[in-house]
C-alpha cells in the first residue's frame, strides 16, 4: 500500500532525499555546540584565550551551518511534501476521470471529495513529519547520547533510569488514550449528524413544536460526549507532567553527581561540561517525545493513506477494444437477449431478456415505474455499463467494438441527475462542441426552448452559472442540459427523464422542435408522464426490468393494462408547475 502511495513522489524524489541529508547536517552541527562549549569552558578555565577564540569561532560556524542546513531542509521538505500531495491529487483525479459509471457508483461523491482533500492533507502532514522529524529525532537521540558519554563516561548512566520511565509512560498513554479517542470521534460524528438533521429539518421541528425536545436530546448527547472526551483527556494530561518529571530528575541527578565528580576531580569535567550534559538530556528526552508524536501521527494517517490507495487502485470496469471502430453509421439501435446486473454476483437481474430494435430517426418513448429499469436500459446504449449477457448494437455494430469516446460523442445522453458547471452559459454549452459558433449555440438553445429565458438574463449567454447551477431554476437547468447535448450533433439522443421540471407547454414545444429539426437522429425519451411520450413513434412499457409491451399510444391504451393504469393514475396536476419537484 505504502509503495503504491510513494509512487506519486516522482519529480520530488530529489527533495525527498535532500531533506534528510540536510537534516543530518543540521542535527550534526547542532549537537556539536554543547560539546564545543565544553571545550571552550576548558580553555576559559585555563585562561587559554587562543583556544577560546578557536572554539568560539567553531561554535559560530556550527550554528551558521546548522542554520543554513536547517533552512534548506525546511524548504526542500516543504517542496517534497506539497509536491507529493500535488501529485497524489493529480493521480487520483486522473484515475477518477477514467472511472466507468460502475466505478463512480461504488464511491459516493462526498467520499471522493474527502479522499481528495482531507485525506491527502493528512498524508502530506505525515510525509513532512517523516522526512523531517522522523529523521531528526532518532538522530538527535543517538548523537546526544554519544556526546554525553564523550563528556562523561559515567553520568549518562542516569538516562538508563529516565529514558525507560518516559518511554513506558508514553506507551501507556498512547495505548490507553487512543482507543477511547477513536470511540469518541465516532460519537462526535453522530452528534454532528444530528445537528445536520436539525438544520435540514428545521421546518419539521418547528411545525411539531419540538424545539425543547430536540434541545434536551442534544444536551444529553453532548453531555455524554464531554464525559468521554474528559476520560480520554485525563490520560493524555499525564503526558506533559511525565516529560517534566523525567527531565527534572535527569537534571537533578546530573547536577548532583556532576558536582561530586567535579569536586572529587575523578573525571575531566567542568561546569561547562555540566551545562552541556543538561542540554543533551533535554534533547534526548525531547526527541523521544517527538518520536511518540510521529508514531501517533502516522497511525492516524494510515487510514487516510488506505483510502487514497483505494481510489488509485480502482481500475475502470470498461476498456476500449484494440482496433476499435471510430465511426458510427446511423442511429439504429438493437438489443439482443440482453440481461443486466450492476454487480456480477447480484441475485436479481435489473434487466431481463431485453429484445428491441429501433430504426434510425425514430422517436421512442420508454415508460415505467421507478425501478422498472428504464434508466438502466438506456445506459447500455452509450455503454455507460456493459451488458451481463446478450449484446447491444448501435448502427449495426456491437457497442463494445466502438471506441468509447466516439460512441459517446454520437450517442448523446441527457442524464436524469444532470449538472451544470460553474462558468458562463456559453462555456457550459460548449461542452457539447468546443468549436461551436455563436449561431450554432443559439440554434440549439432555440430548439431546447432555452433561448428565450437566456436572453432575458441581463448578461444573456454570458451569464455566469454558479456552482451546481444554483442560480437557474430546475426547468431552465434541464433545458440548458438538453441544448448542450444537441450541440454534440449526435446520431442518437437520449432524454432520461430530462424534462421533469419543464412545464407541459414548453415540453411539448421542445419535443416538436427536436422532431422537426433533427429528423435523422434517433430520439429516445424516458419519462414518468404519459404526455411526454404519447406522440412517439413507438412506446416501450417497462416493468420489473422487462419490456412488457411495445406499441403506439393508441395501441397500448387498448392492449396494455399497465399503460392504462399509469395513464389514469398519473393524470395529475403536477403539470401546473413550471418547476415540478425540486429534485
Amino acid at each position: 500500500m505504502i509503495k503504491r502511495l510513494l509512487g506519486s513522489i516522482r519529480e520530488y524524489k530529489k527533495e525527498s532525499i535532500l531533506t534528510p541529508i540536510f537534516i543530518i547536517i543540521e542535527v550534526g552541527m547542532e549537537v556539536l555546540i554543547p560539546l564545543l562549549i565544553n571545550w571552550f569552558g576548558g580553555c576559559l578555565q585555563n585562561g587559554d584565550g587562543k583556544g577560546m577564540l578557536i572554539y568560539g569561532l567553531l561554535m559560530v560556524l556550527s550554528a551558521g551551518i546548522s542554520l543554513i542546513a536547517g533552512m534548506i531542509a525546511g524548504r526542500t521538505c516543504a517542496k517534497a511534501a506539497t509536491g507529493f500531495s500535488k501529485n497524489l491529487r493529480h493521480d487520483m483525479f486522473e484515475n477518477v476521470q477514467g472511472f466507468s459509471f460502475a466505478n463512480i457508483d461504488k464511491f459516493s461523491t462526498s467520499s471522493l471529495v474527502t479522499r481528495l482533500t482531507t485525506d491527502v492533507n493528512n498524508v502530506q502532514m505525515a510525509y513532512m513529519m517523516i522526512i523531517r522529524t522522523a529523521i531528526r529525532s532518532p538522530l538527535m537521540f543517538i548523537f546526544s547520547v554519544a556526546m554525553s558519554f564523550y563528556i562523561s563516561p559515567t553520568l549518562p548512566a542516569i538516562f538508563c533510569v529516565t529514558i525507560p520511565v518516559l518511554a513506558f509512560g508514553i506507551i501507556f498513554i498512547i495505548k490507553n488514550a487512543m482507543p477511547i479517542f477513536k470511540k469518541v470521534f465516532k460519537k462526535y460524528d453522530n452528534l454532528n449528524e444530528s445537528v445536520q438533521e436539525n438544520i435540514k429539518g428545521m421546518r419539521v421541528v418547528k411545525a411539531y413544536v419540538r424545539e425543547d425536545y430536540e434541545t434536551k436530546k442534544f444536551k444529553d448527547v453532548s453531555g455524554d460526549l464531554a464525559k468521554d472526551f474528559i476520560k480520554a483527556e485525563k490520560i493524555l494530561a499525564l503526558n506533559n507532567p511525565l516529560m517534566q518529571f523525567c527531565l527534572n530528575i535527569s537534571l537533578l541527578l546530573i547536577a548532583f553527581f556532576g558536582s561530586q565528580i567535579i569536586i572529587s576531580q575523578t573525571q575531566n569535567l567542568n561546569v561547562f561540561g555540566l551545562t552541556s550534559l543538561l542540554t543533551y538530556s533535554l534533547q534526548i528526552l525531547m526527541s523521544l517525545q517527538m518520536l511518540s508524536m510521529i508514531f501517533v501521527m502516522i497511525t492516524l494517517s494510515l487510514e487516510s493513506a488506505r483510502r487514497i490507495v483505494e481510489v488509485l487502485d480502482e481500475k475502470s470496469t470498461l476498456t476500449n477494444k484494440e482496433n476499435a471502430i471510430t465511426t458510427v453509421n446511423d442511429g439504429t439501435i438493437e438489443f439482443n437477449n440482453v440481461n443486466f446486473r450492476y454487480y456480477k454476483n447480484a441475485e436479481k437481474n435489473i434487466l431481463t431478456n431485453i429484445n428491441l430494435k429501433i430504426e434510425s430517426g425514430k422517436t421512442v418513448g420508454i415508460i415505467g415505474g421507478t425501478g422498472s429499469g428504464k434508466t438502466s436500459l438506456v445506459n447500455l446504449i452509450s455503454r455507460l455499463y456493459d451488458v451481463s449477457e446478450g449484446e447491444v448494437k448501435v448502427g449495426g455494430i456491437n457497442v463494445k467494438d466502438y471506441d468509447m469516446e466516439v460512441l459517446r460523442e454520437k450517442v448523446a445522453v441527457v442524464l436524469q441527475k444532470n449538472v451544470l458547471f460553474s462558468g458562463t452559459i456559453k462555456e457550459n454549452l460548449r461542452w457539447g462542441d468546443n468549436n461551436a459558433t455563436d449561431e450554432e449555440l443559439i440554434k440549439a438553445c432555440k430548439m431546447a426552448c432555452a433561448h428565450e429565458f437566456i436572453t432575458s438574463f441581463p448578461n444573456g449567454y454570458d451569464t455566469f452559472i454558479e456552482q451546481g447551477g444554483a442560480n437557474v431554476s430546475g426547468g431552465q437547468k434541464q433545458r440548458l442540459c438538453i441544448a448542450r447535448a444537441i450541440l454534440k450533433k449526435p446520431k442518437v439522443i437520449i432524454f432520461d427523464d430530462s424534462t421533469s421540471a419543464v412545464d407541459m407547454k414548453t415540453d411539448a414545444m421542445l419535443r416538436k422542435a427536436i422532431k422537426t429539426e433533427l429528423p435523422s437522429v434517433t430520439k429516445i425519451i424516458v419519462a414518468q408522464r404519459i404526455a411526454s411520450v404519447q406522440d412517439a413513434d413507438v412506446i416501450v412499457v417497462m416493468d420489473g426490468g422487462e419490456i412488457k409491451s411495445v406499441g403506439t399510444h393508441e395501441e397500448l391504451l387498448q392492449s396494455s393494462e399497465i399503460y392504462k393504469e399509469v395513464y389514469t393514475s398519473q393524470h395529475k396536476m403536477a403539470d401546473f408547475d413550471e418547476n415540478g419537484g425540486e429534485n
Binding site: 585562561g47 525546511g74 461542452w431
Partner: protein, 664 residues
C-alpha cells in the same frame, strides 16, 4: 445542500464555500469575542478557571527560576576550585539542589493540575457552548435558515467550535505561560547579571526582527494557501458531483487539465507557506545558538581578560553584598548560557502564538454571531388547553384527555378569560407579505376555510402557494392584513400552541436518526405504540414497515436515505396522523415515485384529510377535484377561485391548465 432559489424563495446567503477562520480576514477583527469568552469562563467556571490560570502561571514561574539555583551550584563549584572548603561547598550544593527539587515538584504538580483541570474545563465549556448554540438555533426564525446555507451553519458546530477549543485549551494558556516565562526569565537574568542581560536583549530585538520578517510573509502565504485550497476544493466538489456528465461528454481531459492548473497553483502557494513556516524554527533555534556563543565568548572574554575580577552588575550582588557591582566569573557566564537560549526560543514562539490566538478568535466570533441572532419573537398569550364542555355550553379547563381543545384567551383589560373551541376555522383578509421588507410577493390575499373544508392551491412554482401556508403557521409574519384562527388573530396565539393545532406534511421529507417508531411518535411524544401503529395504518405505511426485518424498530440514519421517496412520504404522513390536529397543511409531493406507492400515498393523504380543515398545495387531479374551493395563484395574487366545476365553466387559467390547451 441549499435549496434552489428563485424569485419567490427568500434570498440565499452568500459564501457557502467559506471554510475555516480565514473567511472574514483577520484585519477587521474585533476582540470582543475574546473578552466575551473570558467573561464566560470567569463567570461560569469561576473557581476552576482561576485555578487553571494560576496553575499555568505557577508552573511557568517554577520552570523558569531553576536557573537561579543552578547558578548557586555553579558558583559553589567555582568557589570550591578557588579554595572554599569541601563541607561548605556541599552544603550549598545540597541546599540548592533540594530547593530546586522542591520547585520542580511544584512545577509538576501544577503542570498536572493545569493539564487535567484544563482538559475538563475545556470539554465542559465546549459542551455548554454547543448546547447554547443548539438551543439558540432552535429558537431562530425560519428566515435565518433561508438566508444561511446549511453548510455555513454546520461549520459553526465543527470548525468554529474547534477554533474555540484551540483557543481555550492551547493558544490562551500557552501565550500566558510564555509571557510569564519571559518575565520570570528577565528577573532571573537581571538577578545574575545586568550586563549579560543587555546582550540578550540585543539578541532579542534581532530575533523579533527576523521573526517579523519571516512570520509576516508566512501569514501572507497561508492566506493565499487558504484561498487556493478553497478554489481547488470547490472544483473537486463540482467535478466529483458531475463526474457522470463529464463522462457522457468525454470531457475527462479538459477537466483534468483545469484541475491541474488549480492544483499547481495550490502547490505553489502551499509550498511557499510551508517553506516559510518550516524555516522559522531553525532560524529561531540557531539565533538562540549564536546568542549562546556570543554570551559565552563575551562573558568568557571578560572573565579571562580581567582574571576573574571583571565587573558584573547584578541584583544578586546587591542582595548578597549590598552593592550592585560585583565580580563576573565563570559561574555567571555558565548560568547565563542556558537562560539566554531558553529566552531566545520562548521569544521566537510569541508571534506564532499571537497568530493562533487571532485565528481562533476569528472562528469564535462566528459562534457569537449565531448566539446573538435574534430569536423568533412570540408575543402570543392565547394558549391551547384541554377542556370539558359544560352543560350550559361553556368550557372548563381540564387536565384529562377529553378530546376537546379550547383556546384560552385572557383579556388584559378586565382580567377575564374566554374559551373558544378549537375547530380549525381559518380566515385570511387582505394579506400582504414579502420575505424582504421592500419586496412584496403576496398581494391582498383573502380566503377562508371553514372547519372541515378543503382548500386547494394551484399555480406555477413561485406563484406563492407555499408562502401562504408558511404564513398560517407563522413561519413568517405578514406585512399587512389579518389572519384569524377560530376567530382569534394569530398574532395573539402563542406560536407553539398555534403550531400544535396544525398538522403539516411537507413535500421535502425530513426524518431523524432513531427508529421508525420514534419518527412516527415525533408527532405526539406521549403516543403509545398502538397509536403510532394505527397512524401508520391510516397512512398506509404499516405494510411496508412490517415487511422490514426489524419492523417498527428499524433504525433510520442519514435522513432515511435507504428508504424510497414514497416510503419516506408515507412515514411523514403517519407522523402527521399521530398528531391528529384539526387543521392540516399539506404539500403534495411531486417527485417521481412509482405508481403503486403513489396510490398508497394518495390513499393515505386522503384518509388524513378526512374531517379536517386542509390547505393543500395540490398536484394531483383527484385532490383538486375533491377540494371545496380551489385557489388559482399567479404572481402572488389569487386570480381565480371556486370549485372545479365552476372554474372549468369560467374557461380561464384553470381551464387552460387543466386541459393542457395553451393555444388560447
Amino acid at each position: 445542500m441549499a435549496k434552489m432559489s428563485n424569485s419567490f424563495k427568500p434570498p440565499m446567503g452568500k459564501g457557502s464555500m467559506g471554510k475555516g477562520p480565514m473567511k472574514k480576514g483577520i484585519k477587521n477583527l474585533d476582540f470582543k469575542a475574546l473578552f466575551r469568552i473570558l467573561g464566560i469562563l470567569f463567570k461560569e467556571y469561576k473557581a476552576s478557571y482561576v485555578i487553571v490560570l494560576c496553575s499555568v502561571m505557577i508552573s511557568a514561574v517554577a520552570s523558569s527560576v531553576g536557573g537561579l539555583f543552578l547558578n548557586q551550584v555553579y558558583t559553589a563549584l567555582e568557589n570550591f576550585l578557588a579554595g572554599t572548603p569541601y563541607e561548605e561547598t556541599w552544603k550549598i550544593i545540597i541546599t540548592a539542589l533540594a530547593t530546586l527539587g522542591f520547585i520542580y515538584l511544584i512545577n509538576i504538580v501544577f503542570s498536572y493540575t493545569f493539564n487535567v483541570l484544563g482538559a475538563i474545563l475545556t470539554q465542559r465549556f465546549l459542551r455548554d457552548m454547543r448546547i447554547k448554540l443548539f438551543s439558540r438555533m432552535q429558537k431562530l426564525p425560519i428566515k435565518y435558515f433561508d438566508t444561511h446555507t446549511h453548510g455555513d451553519i454546520m461549520s459553526t458546530y465543527t470548525n468554529d467550535i474547534d477554533a474555540l477549543r484551540q483557543l481555550v485549551s492551547q493558544s490562551m494558556p500557552q501565550l500566558l505561560s510564555t509571557v510569564i516565562t519571559l518575565v520570570t526569565l528577565t528577573f532571573v537574568m537581571l538577578y545574575i547579571s545586568v550586563i549579560l542581560f543587555l546582550v540578550v536583549v540585543l539578541g532579542l530585538i534581532f530575533i523579533t526582527f527576523v521573526t517579523k520578517l519571516v512570520g509576516g510573509n508566512s501569514a501572507k502565504y497561508f492566506m493565499a494557501q487558504q484561498r487556493a485550497v478553497a478554489k481547488a476544493e470547490g472544483y473537486i466538489e463540482e467535478s466529483m458531483a458531475g463526474q457522470k456528465v463529464i463522462k457522457v461528454f468525454c470531457h475527462e481531459d479538459e477537466s483534468l487539465e483545469k484541475f491541474d492548473a488549480l492544483n499547481d497553483e495550490l502547490f505553489n502557494v502551499s509550498n511557499k507557506a510551508n517553506a516559510f513556516s518550516n524555516i522559522l524554527m531553525p532560524i529561531i533555534h540557531n539565533i538562540g545558538n549564536i546568542l549562546y556563543v556570543v554570551i559565552a565568548f563575551l562573558g568568557g572574554g571578560i572573565v579571562i581578560l580581567t582574571q576573574g575580577t571583571g565587573i558584573n552588575i547584578s541584583i544578586q550582588n546587591l542582595v548578597l553584598n549590598g552593592s550592585l557591582v560585583g565580580v563576573m566569573n565563570i559561574a555567571t557566564v555558565v548560568s547565563f548560557l542556558g537562560l539566554a537560549r531558553r529566552f531566545a526560543n520562548t521569544t521566537g514562539m510569541v508571534s506564532n502564538q499571537i497568530n493562533s490566538v487571532v485565528m481562533a478568535v476569528a472562528g469564535s466570533n462566528r459562534i457569537f454571531e449565531l448566539l446573538d441572532e435574534k430569536p423568533e419573537e412570540d408575543n402570543g398569550y392565547v394558549t391551547l388547553v384541554k377542556a370539558i364542555k359544560l352543560e350550559d355550553g361553556t368550557y372548563q379547563e381540564s387536565t384529562d384527555d377529553t378530546g376537546i381543545w379550547v383556546w384560552k384567551h385572557p383579556h388584559k383589560e378586565d382580567g377575564s378569560v374566554t374559551y373558544t373551541e378549537l375547530k380549525g376555522d381559518v380566515r385570511l383578509t387582505d394579506v400582504d407579505f414579502g420575505y424582504e421588507e421592500n419586496h412584496i410577493v403576496l398581494h391582498g390575499v383573502t380566503l377562508y376555510a371553514e372547519p372541515g373544508q378543503k382548500v386547494a392551491f394551484v399555480g406555477a412554482t413561485g406563484a406563492g402557494k407555499t408562502t401562504i401556508t408558511n404564513l398560517i403557521n407563522r413561519f413568517y409574519d405578514i406585512a399587512d392584513g389579518k389572519i384569524r384562527y377560530d376567530g382569534i388573530n394569530i398574532n395573539k396565539i402563542k406560536k407553539a400552541d398555534l403550531r400544535r393545532s396544525l398538522g403539516i406534511v411537507l413535500q421535502d421529507v425530513s426524518l431523524f436518526s432513531g427508529t421508525i417508531m420514534d419518527n412516527i411518535r415525533y408527532g405526539k411524544l406521549d403516543a403509545t405504540d398502538e397509536e403510532c401503529i394505527n397512524a401508520a395504518k391510516l397512512a398506509n405505511a404499516h405494510d411496508f414497515i412490517t415487511r422490514l426485518p426489524e419492523g417498527y424498530n428499524t433504525y433510520i440514519t442519514g435522513d432515511g436515505a435507504n428508504f424510497s421517496q414514497g416510503q419516506r412520504q408515507l412515514l411523514s404522513i403517519a407522523r402527521a396522523a399521530v398528531k391528529n390536529a384539526p387543521a392540516m397543511i399539506l404539500d403534495e409531493a411531486t417527485s417521481s415515485i412509482d405508481t403503486r406507492t403513489e396510490l398508497l400515498v394518495q390513499k393515505g393523504t386522503n384518509r388524513l384529510m378526512e374531517g379536517r380543515t386542509v390547505f393543500v398545495i395540490a398536484h394531483r387531479l383527484s385532490t383538486v377535484k375533491d377540494a371545496d374551493v380551489i385557489m388559482v395563484l399567479d404572481k402572488g395574487r389569487i386570480i381565480e377561485r371556486g370549485s372545479h366545476d365552476e372554474l372549468i365553466k369560467q374557461k380561464g387559467t384553470y381551464y387552460r391548465l387543466y386541459t393542457g390547451n395553451f393555444a388560447e
